[in-house]
Point group: D2
Chain length 467, copies 4
Amino acid sequence: MTQKTWGGRFSEATDKRVEAFTESISYDHRLYRQDIQASQAHTRMLAAVGLLSQQEAEQIVTALEEIGQDIAAGRMPWQIELEDIHTHIERALIARLGDLGRKLHTARSRNDQVVTDVKLWVREAIDQIDSRLEDLQRAFVRFAEREEGVILPGYTHLQRAQPVLASHYALAYVEKWQRDRDRLAEARRRLNVLPLGAAALAGTSLPIDRDMVRRELGFAELAANSMDVSSDRDFVLDYVYALAVLAVHLSGWAEEWIIWSTTEFSFLELPDAFCTGSSIMPHKKNPDVLELIRGRSARVIAALQQLFVLLKGLPLAYNRDLQEDKIALFTAHDTVNACLEVAIPLVEGSRLRRDSITARLEDGFLDATTLMEGLVEMGVPLRAAHEAVGRLVQECEQRRCRLAELPEEVFQHLLPQHLDDSGRLRSRLGTAAALAAFRSHGSTAPAEVKKQLQLWKQRLRLDPAQH
Amino acid sequence: MTQKTWGGRFSEATDKRVEAFTESISYDHRLYRQDIQASQAHTRMLAAVGLLSQQEAEQIVTALEEIGQDIAAGRMPWQIELEDIHTHIERALIARLGDLGRKLHTARSRNDQVVTDVKLWVREAIDQIDSRLEDLQRAFVRFAEREEGVILPGYTHLQRAQPVLASHYALAYVEKWQRDRDRLAEARRRLNVLPLGAAALAGTSLPIDRDMVRRELGFAELAANSMDVSSDRDFVLDYVYALAVLAVHLSGWAEEWIIWSTTEFSFLELPDAFCTGSSIMPHKKNPDVLELIRGRSARVIAALQQLFVLLKGLPLAYNRDLQEDKIALFTAHDTVNACLEVAIPLVEGSRLRRDSITARLEDGFLDATTLMEGLVEMGVPLRAAHEAVGRLVQECEQRRCRLAELPEEVFQHLLPQHLDDSGRLRSRLGTAAALAAFRSHGSTAPAEVKKQLQLWKQRLRLDPAQH
Amino acid sequence: MTQKTWGGRFSEATDKRVEAFTESISYDHRLYRQDIQASQAHTRMLAAVGLLSQQEAEQIVTALEEIGQDIAAGRMPWQIELEDIHTHIERALIARLGDLGRKLHTARSRNDQVVTDVKLWVREAIDQIDSRLEDLQRAFVRFAEREEGVILPGYTHLQRAQPVLASHYALAYVEKWQRDRDRLAEARRRLNVLPLGAAALAGTSLPIDRDMVRRELGFAELAANSMDVSSDRDFVLDYVYALAVLAVHLSGWAEEWIIWSTTEFSFLELPDAFCTGSSIMPHKKNPDVLELIRGRSARVIAALQQLFVLLKGLPLAYNRDLQEDKIALFTAHDTVNACLEVAIPLVEGSRLRRDSITARLEDGFLDATTLMEGLVEMGVPLRAAHEAVGRLVQECEQRRCRLAELPEEVFQHLLPQHLDDSGRLRSRLGTAAALAAFRSHGSTAPAEVKKQLQLWKQRLRLDPAQH
Amino acid sequence: MTQKTWGGRFSEATDKRVEAFTESISYDHRLYRQDIQASQAHTRMLAAVGLLSQQEAEQIVTALEEIGQDIAAGRMPWQIELEDIHTHIERALIARLGDLGRKLHTARSRNDQVVTDVKLWVREAIDQIDSRLEDLQRAFVRFAEREEGVILPGYTHLQRAQPVLASHYALAYVEKWQRDRDRLAEARRRLNVLPLGAAALAGTSLPIDRDMVRRELGFAELAANSMDVSSDRDFVLDYVYALAVLAVHLSGWAEEWIIWSTTEFSFLELPDAFCTGSSIMPHKKNPDVLELIRGRSARVIAALQQLFVLLKGLPLAYNRDLQEDKIALFTAHDTVNACLEVAIPLVEGSRLRRDSITARLEDGFLDATTLMEGLVEMGVPLRAAHEAVGRLVQECEQRRCRLAELPEEVFQHLLPQHLDDSGRLRSRLGTAAALAAFRSHGSTAPAEVKKQLQLWKQRLRLDPAQH
């Protein structure tokens, strides 16, 4: 008898090259726990509806448990002629139980079996990434606390724009990670629909009880259409998409900290343990971890594209192309998971170089916009105030001075109207004063930032005593 | 005075080539309604907090209204030296109101203004696509009703697998469109957070009331971090991703119907009005609309990729690169919108060619699996039953006959155990009998399909009288 | 002393997680032969210029040879704390030769070393794929010979268009594979420029002789700018691009043969050894290999995208992100290589099902265009002829007959002018006659096809006796 | 009579929505010159083989010329019911010449006509981009000349690595642009094969002379297989790929100059005319052009991806999906063309800020590697020298000094062996000395750079008098 789960109608053995080409065991062995879990639930259901005796079911469930232990202990040799994890486990079951093992696959197909296993796997994966993201949020919140009071230049177009609190900066990322978590939660909710029972594509004539399996496996609903199940990989797309957005967020942050770690910026001290050196240049301390986080976003984005290209133009229902979904899925998950694993301690271990930051904090006219807003508050139309301050900046550039250093007469001369008292305006000059002037909701105003910081500490259950 | 919204500090005029290179008016003019709506809400708020007088605010609101009418009527000439829609509208306001117009931009930046406009636009776009998707669902449900009772071969690997009801087939797509709608709803929920008030990246020192603007523009929440707002394009990603998945669903369906329209399949009659001919081959009737729906999925997938590539590696906060997001956004939306617009009547106008389908319905052993399940119900282990039926099929292929046509002795001989009564098994043979045997939840069993059809008719408010 | 190739300036050991995150040994061990080859050439050059003694060089070359044998024999344990293949080999050298081993890295950096190794690897990879492509061409040419004389319906829009010879069809793919080979040859030519000697990014102050290394490693030219070398991955892009186009060609062919293998088309008999079955449906014979070839094109296309995303926005010179290039490179190569490996015997083993093809060859008006061209030759303007034949086809559809079966009076009536002798026109009707009428260069005209077939047999050195 | 080029067999008019959905005139009108050129060549050939009289041909050629002038002058109204540029021109011809116009399409199909037109268009596009690239090379060479002698820090991992000449830096990009030009030249060579005469997919029964058309249109070869022609879009892929690589090169350069333009780096002064300001922050001078060049690389990369997704899984021969190729093609070309147009003057107008560069040139241990190489030349094994210099750097960091500033005893103490004369080593310290020490081919050694600069000036015909 053939080793395959099929073969009765075939008169020629599968070509060895075809076995090597079509196998998935080299990567889908990762699904073994989920496969066993789903098979056990399926077995109990088969017994409940009378397709197995209670005793048969118990034997199968126990044997599956043992097979799972064997696999966990590395005692299961993978064989490419056994194609995939599902066949390996079924063959091991038959090896233990004989004909009884041959009954496990009753009323199911690999089509619905695989999707069930993968959904179980993705559900766990989502929970893992979500938990890491929460830790990453905590690391950024702790950064925000640690660097409280530090003023940074804020950038647009990578040009110095306005002053921001380091805490405000850090919390911007906490918001991004939160949207990533929301996206994961939605992906999880949408996938949580049981496929098992759809069989190959049309359901089955056997009297199964899908709802019992659903309850046991913790799915929220039953998939309502078997052809949809057989062809659907939306849940893989949704998860990999969420990972891709997360990877892009990570890439932007990594880019920023790479720039901050240059000699020129000198904003950040990365922990030595998270940097590497050069084989030729003995003085180098390179932000390799950040570079790889940035570069690996490409893997995740590409994994999503792989899925789209894969799925494009496939008719109903199952097509073998779909086997490839796991390649993209595992790549995207592993990559992001690894990035998060190193990102968290890297953030915890990094320190702002306050001296360097402060040394040049008055460069770049970070106070210009607040000055302009001061004029607006005095009644100058916005566009006119904008022009006036623009001219002041031009004057400063020629004189190579700061706004606060402009002589009073120049100041007066270039303003759009005579000022009896330029003092109020001038009191807004300098980066610290400019920062202190902010007040809008969600702004870098110190009070606003403090409020947000408190909110996040509560939300993330960050006990003050904890760090 | 320069026409730009900036320029005070510049000593050299912008190069003409740069104006042509950096302009966005050629495509962002589509945001004019949203820009006016947001500016009006902003104006009312400025008045409420005293940065404008009530009268000033009314003048601005009225003038903006008129400008909107001008644009709607095609009376606004677009000029690339005015960069974008925001500048055009502000310049038009200044042309009408002089210095007062110069006050509109108080306490906001183009950074938060653009994001607000685009969010308003995307929110409407989502609603439009959702409504079209609902119509598409209705078209498929009506197809399911129209073709009730028709049996189709169901395929896996594009090989005949098991019989399915045409209605079951059609409802599989209704499930897919529903997930697409869910995805859109989530994208909508996540974007519904007001950015305005974040200003350039740090907020403002002016005493604005963001919550008032939020209420007027119908956002659910306030964005909590100005630096996040300035750098965030997640909402564009989320929408374009939802469109890309939808486009892939459309591409698979289109592929299927292209195949169904071949001479060889002859399953489907497409309406003449939705096909085109050939410039050289006078007999051709080509499914061009379906081919273009399939092909245009590439545009949407590529638009998503464009966004990912665009966003990869950008540090905080706003970078000019982000201007490019609208190219991808508009392309993806327009493409999917156009595809849906033609897909709906195409589905409504297409008919299954029942004669052709029936003529070959007994080909391809569509009853083999049900036969096997019959053996299982008689106590034969699944794998043994599978082998046995496999051998029956092989025998049929050699004899060029169907399962129902096999002589009784062959039937008996190849079964795994002696049957006193093969009649019960043989009664399952033939496609119609095989179909009738299904019973699991979500399967193609006639009763199950009828139930699902009723559910969808209710859900989509499809009144029986309506069609 | 640290195990790293760097580390003197570091006060903290590398974090274990960072070692796991930054290692590349798990995949770049594939470069070991190339690394040894390049290091041996480098060593000989160091001796030639006096940076090593002749005896030192010989010791190193010999030790490297032995290390290579160890690796080939699986005797080298990979350790992630040794980062990459380059460090492994260098450490093994030091273990054997002590201080002398420490001299190997003189006047080079991992930056130029890696690029040299990868270029050597890609050069071999190109040769391997080119050779497989030549075999694939041969398989298609043999198909063309084997099926000589068989007439197929040719399709546009997947609708029957005009008759074509099966040989003409097969040779169309031979042309595509040839362009793929041309693309590979160009990629090879462009990469064949020696990077070694560029060191980290600026060259070296040591008196090296790059041209000697170039000659030994068989490169055509020396890279002229060290900063370019340090940042350049064009050659990886070029190769992966060539693979992606090839993969897309394969995907189209696979799609076509999947369709041809349906019950409905029944054009093709795939060898059993290249198909697989179903775990639930005992009658299935699925074209899995073709489906996976189609689906795996997504991996290759995604690998190219990964590279583009990776490289986007990187400043000069080397950045650690570049390490990721090998992931994409190896994936693309392995995938295409495996696809070709199975595609070749699959083509060799497949047969057209001539009976099925012939049985419906007169369906679909394959002769309509030739009829129209007959009218044109009789002086009817093309567009008028097109209309006339269009009406004939419409008439046939109503009568459910073929063009050749139309009554003479209908024929005469619908033609644009009175025909004294419609016989000449009618002699062109029927698929065989239509096919025979072709005559343009590059067309499916039998004589043209024969000529092309001969050309390809010569070009591919296909001896008639060989098969 | 229908306006379409087909329609005889259709009993129902095309749905208006379908016309809007399937039209391509809104973008393929750009092909009008090529369409006319190819039609004129086709016409002359038809006359030469007797399918038209000489006089008919002359009338057609003349009328086509006039139609071309009408289009150039904007006198041709585009109508979506006329689908595409080919139909517009043919209808205009019939409007002028009546029945004679109906003869133009003899012996060709839109399938081969479109490909011919697009190939002609791409050939011109390649020439245009190549010419711009040459100008860009010249701009970089002039930069190299203008900044001759300026020393820059060279970076790896964006960390200061070794000193490089500004000219060396600039020439690295000249190498990259050259590879881009090589890629374009190859794409051009491969596309230069005439498709016309392949007709729909099978060739024609009419006695055409393809070689005559080939000569007139300047193609190097005749396409040898009509089915290949009908399905082939490799030439679009090749061109868009070349553009995508170029776009990625541009993105890296743009990124670098954006970083160089920060307050922190202050390496570069961009011309005011190539920067823009902020609507809210009056002091901003933003490198928008560079940001958009970086960001627009995403469009080009996505265009390539669009093509791959489009082509994936399409069977032979022409499918309507292929119409979409022009969207990607035009987008990619226009984007890159526009980027080059602004990049050239931007490079010409930019200046290194030598003071700022020099002020920090001794930071970052740019001389460490040369010091190490000095030890190697004295016989210290590379790895030992590397360690020793690493320790020197560590010492400097603790003392916050430069290598040249280390006390002699520390210097001696940390070196791997006693030095009688550390003077020779110390003479290599300092950035200028380190730079002067380079000597390898292709390195930043002043003599090497001068040589390369001369070579490029000759190659690009840059006359010293010219600038």
